[in-house]
Structures are given as C-alpha cells and as structure tokens.
C-alpha cells in the first residue's frame, strides 16, 4: 500500500500538491467560472500536457526539446481529421463539386479522399493514432539522434527544425491538410454536438482527469529507478554508460513518452476548441510550452500546470489591453525566471511556501493522519 502511494504521489508534499491541483481544476474553476471562461481554462490545460512532458524530458532528462508542438500538433490533427470527416458527410457537403470530402479538399480541386485520410473514419483508429503516431515519430527522431549521441543544444535545434518542416509541409499541402487555415468547422463527434455547452463541460472534465492521470503516470516514472537514472544521466552521462546502461534507450523512451503526453493534449485541444491549425505546431507554440514549464518549475510536474495557467491567464488579460507588449513581457519573464528563479514557481513555493502552509496547519495534520494509516512500513530511498 505504502509502496503504491509513494510511487504515484511521491512524498506527503507531493500528495498535498496533487490534491490541491485536483480540487482547483475539478471544483473551484467549474464553480467559479462561466462556461466560456471554463472552456478557455480547458484550452490552457491542454497546453499543460506539453508542459508536463517537458518536465520529464527537460527538467529531469536534461534534454531540451524545442519541438513539443510537433506532437501536440500530430495529436490535434489526428483528432481533427476524424471530426472533419464526420462533418463532411455527403449530405452536409452536397453543394461541393465532390460531396463527401472535406471542404478544403474540394476548394483545391481534389476529387477523392486521400488514402491516409481513410482510416480516420473510425473513432477507435483515431484514438489509437493520437497515441501511437506521435510516439513512433518521436521514437524515430530519438533513435536517430540519441543512438548517435546527439544531445544538448544540437538536439534542441533539430527538434525545432522538425517543427518548422512539419509546419511548412502542412501549409504547403493545402489540399491534404487544410493549409494555413488548418482544419476548421468541426461540429459533431459520433453525431453528438461538440459545440454545445454540455459537451464542452464534459470535455473539460475529461481533460482534467487525463491531465491528472498523466501526472500520476509521470510521477510513477520519476519515483522509479528510471527517474533516478534520468537525474544521473543529466549529471554524469558517461558514468551511467560505464555502469552498464544503454543510455540512448532511456532517452528514446522518455522522449517518446513525452511525445505521447503532448499528443493527448493536442487531441483534447481540438475537441474543446473545435479546430486545429499549423499555428499550434511551429516554433512559437513549441517555445511557449518550454516557457510554461520553466515558469512553473521544470522540476515540478504540478508546477508546470500552474505555470501554464498563469502565463495563459496573463496572455489573455494582457493581449486584450496591450497586444503588442505581451510577447516582450513573456520574453522578459522567461529571462527573469531562468536567471533568478531557475526552479520557477515550484522553487519559490519550496523556499517560501512554508510561511503560507503554517497558517493552514490543519491540512498537514489531516494528511499526516491519512498517511499514517496508509503506510505502516517506512520505505527508504524512494523519495524524489
């Protein structure tokens, strides 16, 4: 019992942090916010998947990817392709010269559904594709890089280049991908209206549960020997290699896992926002995701979620009044965090949080009790 507990939540602080986050997104936001704002928070939380993936990959793994937008995009596009096909039924598209294919294909004189679109008629296949395609793609990039011991800044640049290539490809192949406009006008999922408030609310909660599940799964990785190996590799890669580990395999795994997480976020984005476009694939969103993680704290799974929320609240609030200043502010914030608070918000909480938690001593007591009943055996060396 205690073994499972530590594996999934880390120490007591980890459990408290997790519960507070869960209460905030599952109770506080839905109660306090109207449907429009809640949907907006839901959109932000889809970016949090990418931010959490960067905590694993960059914070713990020491490998900075400037291309998480690639995987966010692939997940989002896979979902969008399914929804678009459903929206393009022959009845809905009767006025087109070729009914039954997505409208942008018709505009680009395409008369037949391309082969790679065909399987996206199936929802099961789409869910499978959301998870597997980005994972395999990351595996290929990862194997090509890490087996050759490419890392650090070179890896960051290459992931950035891949995200540029993917954007150019999507924009260039307008007839197949919807081009710069992306895939828009998505309406139903198996006949169910996804633009309704009730659907949006449901997606919000599914999104929250998936995010919390991803955090638990990530915690499981970080509290295992794998997690300590990631830290060890970041510190002394050669020592790990000369302790009998094939270092590349570990990096490939964490990169693929990070890709899968980001793709789940992308698919949830499409469902909640109702479209997908190349502007969520390229350099700018990829770097924004890094900023979310950096500001939240790149060593904290939960901090990354707060970083994402904070920056996006700021972005919405600021860009309504000073749209042109926002990018500078975010850049400045990023530099400030890297220089003065390398562990971001989570680091500040570690350093100063006890001043606040002292006032809420009853929470600590409550968790102490629940912990004592849950775990009777003291586990050594399993904290992270």
């Amino acid at each position: 019992m205690s073994f499972v507990y530590e594996k999934l939540f880390g120490d007591k602080k980890g459990l408290i942090g997790f519960c507070i986050l869960a209460a905030l997104i599952l109770v506080v936001f839905p109660v306090m916010l109207d449907s429009f704002r809640l949907n907006l928070v839901g959109k932000y939380l889809t970016y949090a998947f990418a931010a959490v993936s960067l905590v694993l990959l960059w914070g713990y793994g020491g490998t900075l990817s400037l291309g998480q937008g690639i995987f966010f995009g692939i997940g989002g596009y896979a979902m969008a392709m399914f929804l678009k096909l459903e929206a393009s039924s022959p009845e809905n598209t009767a006025i087109q010269s070729t009914p039954g294919i997505p409208d942008f294909m018709d505009w680009n004189q395409i008369t037949e559904l391309p082969l790679f679109w065909m399987p996206f008629h199936s929802f099961t296949f789409t869910l499978f594709a959301v998870l597997v395609v980005p994972t395999i793609f990351a595996y290929i990039i990862g194997a090509a890089m890490f087996k050759r011991r490419v890392g650090g800044v070179y890896f960051a640049i290459i992931t950035q280049v891949v995200s540029v290539i993917l954007t150019v490809l999507i924009v260039g192949q307008q007839g197949l991908t919807g081009g710069i406009n992306g895939i828009t006008d998505l309406r139903t999922l198996n006949g169910w209206d996804i633009t309704s408030d009730s659907a949006k609310n449901l997606f919000y909660f599914i999104n929250c549960f998936l995010l919390l599940a991803v955090i638990i799964a990530s915690r499981f990785i970080l509290t295992s020997k794998f997690g300590r190996l990631l830290l060890a590799m970041r510190d002394k890669e050669d020592r790990v290699r000369f302790s009998g580990y094939d270092v590349a395999n570990f990096k490939i795994f964490i990169f693929s896992f990070a890709a899968m997480i980001s793709a789940i976020g992308g698919a949830m984005f499409t469902l909640q926002v109702g479209f997908m476009s190349p502007s969520f694939v390229g350099i700018v969103p990829s770097i924004e995701m890094v900023i979310f993680a950096a500001i939240g704290g790149r060593m904290s799974l939960i901090g990354a979620v707060y970083g994402t929320l904070l920056i996006n609240f700021g972005k919405t609030a600021f860009s309504e009044s000073f749209p042109e200043l926002w990018l500078f502010l975010m850049g400045g914030l990023f530099i400030a965090v890297v220089m003065f608070f390398p562990n971001g918000l989570a680091g500040l909480w570690e350093d100063y949080g006890h001043h606040i938690t002292k006032r809420f001593g009853f929470i600590n007591k409550f968790f102490d009790k629940s912990k004592n009943t849950a775990d009777s055996v003291e586990l050594e060396g399993a904290n992270s």
């Binding site: 300590r228 830290l231 050594e380």
Partner: protein, 250 residues
C-alpha cells in the same frame, strides 16, 4: 577480425594499437593479467596509461589488435556490453552523481533493472538493501548512506566510485589514480581496501604515487610512449636503468 588464441588469463591484450591522426598513443601493446592479480601501470605523462583503460572499456576504439576478457573479444562491443561482461572502471576525477545520496548512487550502480522497463519495475527490496549496506561498509561510508554525494570529502568520493564498481561484482576492476588528492590516512585505508577487493578478481590500477604503488602492487608495468618499457615486480622495476632514466630519475 583477429586471430588471437584463447588463454587462461582474465585479460589478454595482444598487439593493441591506437593511432590518433598518425600519432600512436598505444603501440603494439601486449599485456596479460591474471585472476587475483593487482597490477599497477606507471609511466610519465602521455605514456598512454589512461588510453589503455579507455581502450579496454570501449571509450576509445582501437586501430588494430585484440583485447580479450575471459576469452571474450571486447574490441567490437559497446561500452555497456563491456560493463555487463564484467569490467568496471573508475575515472581519474571522481565520477559520481553529486545530486543523489550515497545510497542512490549505489542503487543506480546495482546490476539489476538495467533495461528501460526493468528500471521502471525495479524494486528496492531487502536483497538490494543488504548488498548496498555490505558495500557501504567496505568503502567506509555506511554512516553516510543518506548524505548527498556532492557533500562528501574528495577521498570519500573516490571510495564511493570504487563502491559503485564493487556492487557490480566485476571480474576486472580498473582504477585510474584512485588516491589522487587523498590524505595520508585515506591512502592507507585505500591500500587496505584494494588489497581486500583484489581477492577473487583482477585489478588494474594507474597510479603516480610510488609509495602507494609499492604497498599494493603485485606486479608493475612501466609504459613509455605507448610501449612497455619494463614489467615485473616493483623492486626489480625500480632498479631498472631505463625506468630510472625516463620516469623515476628526475
């Protein structure tokens, strides 16, 4: 690829050469190491001592020649395969995980759960705990199990790295300058440690401190410009006029 024959030695290096842009750092080296033998390699800077260790553990690839460990050819294996075959290597500067505790350092070096999924499912059970405790006692760090490794003294870091090798129970242990930067007392303790752990395995040490070498070495080899200048027992090597001229004399 090579025609060398099998031997009874733990380590048999034959005709080993590595050249960097024409410069032969190791030149047609022949070297044999027995079980239970503690062998020290000495020589002036640039003699190729560290390069020999790099070649054995796969960090550097040889240009030609053969390295056989328990009659298994190492020259075409990758680093982690060589480690798994039973070769452990300590680097010149202590190479430990500064941010992790002594226990975590040893746990990572424990030879189970070395695959991706193995490490995810690895359980820190009583067997692992006992082994870590046993090694920690051997390297005199049993009181520091929960100390962050970066906070240890220089000498303790050197011991920790030796412990990280011991926990893998290697048949061949290679130590690059294990007492560099140690106090006199720490040197004595290290000499004792090395004498103890050389039982049942082969140990290859690179060292400059002649007093320390005299205390631990069963055999000594002097390298000079990638070649063996002299080899044998310490007292004979020390008297060798060639050795005195290039290494000991000045």
């Amino acid at each position: 690829m090579n025609m060398s024959t099998n031997t009874d030695f733990t380590l048999a290096i034959e005709d080993l050469t590595v050249s960097f842009d024409g410069f032969k750092a190791v030149d047609s080296l022949n070297f044999y190491l027995d079980r239970n033998e503690l062998h020290v390699v000495i020589g002036p800077n640039g003699a190729g001592k560290t390069t020999v260790l790099d070649l054995i553990c796969g960090k550097t690839k040889s240009t030609s020649g053969s390295i056989k460990f328990l009659n298994k050819e190492l020259t075409n294996l990758s680093e982690h395969e060589i480690v798994r075959a039973g070769v452990g290597r300590k680097f010149q500067t202590p190479s430990i995980y500064e941010n992790l505790s002594v226990m975590e350092n040893l746990e990572i070096s424990y030879p189970k759960g070395r695959g991706v999924f193995g490490s995810l499912m690895f359980k820190h059970d009583a067997v692992v705990r006992d082994k870590i405790m046993e090694v920690a006692k051997q390297i005199m760090l049993e009181k520091f199990l929960h100390t962050e490794a970066g906070l240890l003294s220089h000498g303790q870091k050197q011991w920790l790295e030796i412990g990280m090798l011991l926990i893998q129970d290697p048949q061949l242990l290679m130590l690059d300058e294990p007492v560099a930067g140690m106090s006199v007392k720490e040197r004595e303790q290290t000499a004792e440690l090395l004498n103890k752990i050389s039982a049942g395995r082969s140990v290859l040490v690179i060292e400059h401190d002649m007093e320390f070498v005299a205390r631990i070495a069963h055999k000594v080899t002097v390298l000079h410009q990638g070649k063996i200048l002299a080899a044998g027992e310490m007292k004979d090597v020390q008297k060798d006029p060639k050795v005195i001229e290039v290494y000991l004399g000045h």
